[in-house]
Assembly symmetry: C2
Homo-oligomer: 378 residues x 2
């Protein structure tokens, strides 16, 4: 057996999520609770009945790749050759890590708190991972100096998820420009930035920054999973400058051959009908309600700038994994322990707010009660 596989630990997120009972208030969900728009799936059905469901070329359906490139219109990524369609953004991310980094010498820099998959994928590939934690006192806002100071001579890829899972922070335009300028000024082999934009359509601030707009060594991953409530369709993509995109397509071809043709047709319908943001207003409205419920709860929290998460702080001395188990077992609330996203987030819980507003409010009330009761010294 491959020792790297044996050493990979299971998912803390799933460990907690599996405690869910039918009665539970589920704030653990990492996927939309909205129903998808059936029009997109019906477009897939019409296509299948007319043409069957054959393989597409490895990189994906040409019209879909053109539509994706046109939607974002990033400089140096504006044509089909810059896009590879993948099995969700998960495969896209895996392909980026595998393609860009030489396990013999390159390092991945993960900006924490971060979704655990980046580090786990690198571990499976035998790639060295360095992490840099944003500051709790800044509400884990993206900090250009912290990130830049963590870059070593071996760093070849920095991964930044913004809007961020778990913190719900959004990197702003000025911070992106500062990081880009400093990385450009280094000279030598480029340091690539992987901007995970999977929560792009859930952005609630006006000054969001996009590396692909200003930094030529950017790779973008995204999908229709969160934007259009289609997590189960497993349709994502990666965008990159042409030479890197060609290498990504090679890796993708051996990993999975090509993305699902039905799902590609559904995605083509989404882009050609201008529906990529069809749920954005719903999230915006819900987010305002969540902001009020967070204030009412009295819990220390980070106001969500993007994504569909909100994070609350536990009282000093409580461990997040223990708290999450207690909340599941005694309060029937599912919340994800911060430790899953790195040691810097140990005192926090990640809550998703795709559940009905009254459930979110009730969940926050129970968490506040737990925090009052469980705080050490009480």
């Amino acid at each position: 057996m491959n020792p790297r596989v044996e050493h990979i630990s299971g998912s803390l997120i799933r460990e907690i999520a599996q405690k869910r009972k039918p009665t539970s208030i589920n704030l653990g969900l990492g996927e939309p609770s909205l129903a998808p728009n059936p029009a997109h799936l019906e477009a897939g059905m019409r296509y299948a009945k007319e043409h069957g469901l054959r393989y597409t070329v490895n990189a994906g359906d040409l019209a879909l790749r053109e539509a994706i490139a046109a939607q974002y219109a990033y400089p140096d990524m504006h044509s089909a050759e810059n896009v590879c369609v993948t099995t969700g953004s998960q495969e896209a991310t895996y392909a980026v890590i595998k393609t860009l980094l030489d396990p013999a010498k390159d390092e991945l820099l993960v900006v924490e708190p971060a979704f655990p998959s980046y580090a786990k994928m690198a571990a499976l590939e035998g790639i060295e991972v360095r992490t840099v934690a944003m500051r709790e006192e800044d509400g884990f806002a993206f900090d250009a100096d912290l990130i830049l100071n963590a870059v070593t001579k071996n760093t070849r890829l920095i991964v930044i998820c913004s809007p961020c899972n778990p913190t719900a922070r959004v990197i702003d335009d000025a911070t992106v420009r500062r990081i880009a300028a400093a990385l450009e000024a280094r000279g030598g082999d480029p340091v690539w930035v992987l901007h995970d934009e999977i929560y792009r359509e859930q952005t609630f601030v006006a000054n969001a920054g996009y590396f692909a707009k200003v930094y030529p060594h950017t790779i973008v991953t995204n999908s229709i999973s969160k934007s259009n409530a289609l997590t189960g369709l497993r349709l994502g993509w990666v965008m990159a400058p042409a030479r890197v995109a060609a290498s990504l397509v090679k890796v993708h071809a051996w990993l999975t051959s090509c993305a699902d043709t039905f799902a590609q047709q559904a995605a083509l319908h989404i882009f050609s009908s201008g529906a990529i943001g069809e749920h954005s207003a719903w999230y915006s409205q819900r987010r305002d309600g969540v902001a009020r419920a967070l204030a009412q709860s009295g819990l220390p929290h980070i106001l969500p700038e993007g994504s569909f998460y909100a994070c609350v702080r536990l009282p000093e001395g409580l461990k997040s994994l223990e708290a999450a188990h207690e909340l599941a077992d005694r309060y029937d609330v599912i919340a994800i322990p911060g430790i899953a996203f790195g040691p810097s987030f140990e005192s926090w819980l990640r809550l998703s707010w795709v559940a009905p507003p009254e459930s979110v409010a009730e969940g926050l009330t129970r968490i506040a009660t737990y925090c009052r009761t469980a705080a050490p010294g009480r």
Copy 2:
């Protein structure tokens, strides 16, 4: 960049396939030309409209995994925990190679002629590949002694595709039992067999052998791609003893998270309606016609025992890649050069016979003409 990615060469099969013109007789296709049964897709639609399309658990929908395990009823692989649903059998194969082999010391043994993906995947993982070629004078029949003699102390996985792409040979039960007994008798760390069963529903002989029936260290990959004309749906699976299956699920979880929920529901409909073999009779009938057309062509050939390929031999001295280009350029016939499947197959062409019978017959006639004209010394 990862040097392993840069060193992987492009696909010869695609190089030739891209020469196809609208007028071409296309014997290059690696996928069914039948239309899929819409009932399976409609089952996926009904599910999506009722439940949306959420993630399934990493290993796949429980009912689907139970149905797959029940369908094959292999000893030690008869329950859901033995099945991991994947993005086609391509991801399944990738996960097997990555999970089972330690790049530091283990070797993969590929039985040739073989589809190139096994060796390319191993190369991407930095895993040593050894090949063993079956004998041309036996029509590339699977030979237990040849295979067993190629096993070294480092061999931890043997990959066998039967029915075979490209040779259309099927390993027989006696050969499977001989190999299994000899591998068992070795003692020490087990040598695993990956039986790629993707053409299982296109089997035209009665004595087909299945490693999973007799050898406890077997892993099986398969999909609904070829059986049900659903290549584009990207729905496959891997079956393994429980401990290995659990490791495969971990790798699969980081590669792609989970398979497409829509496709899983379509697959569940296929299994629960007993439709996995719904196209088998069609292939059987076509195969009889192909056998007659091959005889009429006068070309040396291997009679297909399984799959939807037939292989014909070029005259001595012709190179298969050159021949395939000539056939495409001057005869408007797309055929896959044998060299794509290993040096032992250099004098052969792989022809698929999913095209209409008259096209297959006309293609064979043109190839026979080419062979008469192009043979060196004429």
